[in-house]
Symmetry: C2
Subunit: 148 residues, 2 copies
């Protein structure tokens, strides 16, 4: 008899599969010098620039970790540091052309994954899935803000 897997584990399985596909697609497109952890941080960089602390929070890692990862990203040409004029303590991280290109590739792969999932589930169930996950976010996302 099939053991009923915890809902959270089912999510983890699907999420991991998606992450693997994105990493694979990036690798195939020539972005093979970015690791998974670096990519997660990179995904949080806004076009206008983002503070290190914010990136750390988004990726759910400490600022120390973010600093270390960003140093590597910067060396690989995936991030630029510029001083924050509003606050002398802060540093803004800005994406480079290469960063934006990588993010674009990732988004395309993401869309493909969603399409595959939707094809497998059917649009109705896919819609229900998203609806449930978005609601769940209200109680599981430590950085959830309704207006965001």
């Amino acid at each position: 008899m099939a053991p009923r897997l915890p809902t959270a584990l089912l999510m983890q399985i699907a999420a991991r599969s998606a992450e693997d596909r994105i990493v694979e697609a990036l690798r195939a497109a020539g972005f093979d010098d970015v690791t998974l952890a670096q990519g997660r941080l990179m995904a949080g960089i806004d076009v206008e620039g983002t503070r290190i602390g914010v990136l750390a929070a988004r990726a759910q890692v400490s600022k120390q970790t973010a600093t270390a990862l960003l140093a590597k990203l910067e060396r690989a040409g995936y991030a630029e540091r510029i001083p924050d004029l509003d606050d002398g303590r802060a540093t803004l991280i800005r994406p480079t052309a290469r960063t934006l290109e990588a993010i674009e590739h990732a988004r395309r792969q993401e869309a493909e994954i969603e399409a595959d999932w939707s094809a497998h589930l059917g649009p109705r169930r896919m819609k229900q899935l998203r609806e449930a996950l978005e609601m769940l976010r209200e109680i599981t996302d430590p950085y959830f803000t309704p207006m965001e």
Copy 2:
């Protein structure tokens, strides 16, 4: 306007929240000498014993990694090695009383999480969520077997 987060990311957020809660609950119950990676491996140990390679596959890590993690688990009293009589090359990993106790605590916390989620979503949406996730597993779980 709210940026539509990828479905996979929504899953990751919820799954991580669940994992954090389980780790926290175990820690509170005195199982504070097991790390997350070790716990993931431990979760795969069957009562009758499980081969190292199988545990590695379940946790999606290499055999080398599994060996190292199991050495720590064994030292902490969470696993026992016994030779596999059917195959002289293989080693079976068996849970100890402490392992089973820890797994029991984890299961209880899991049930609590499911209950919280269900309360937030309502039973109908929760059912739909599980249904979609179970279907999705068919195309996202590299170790999925229908009869399991």
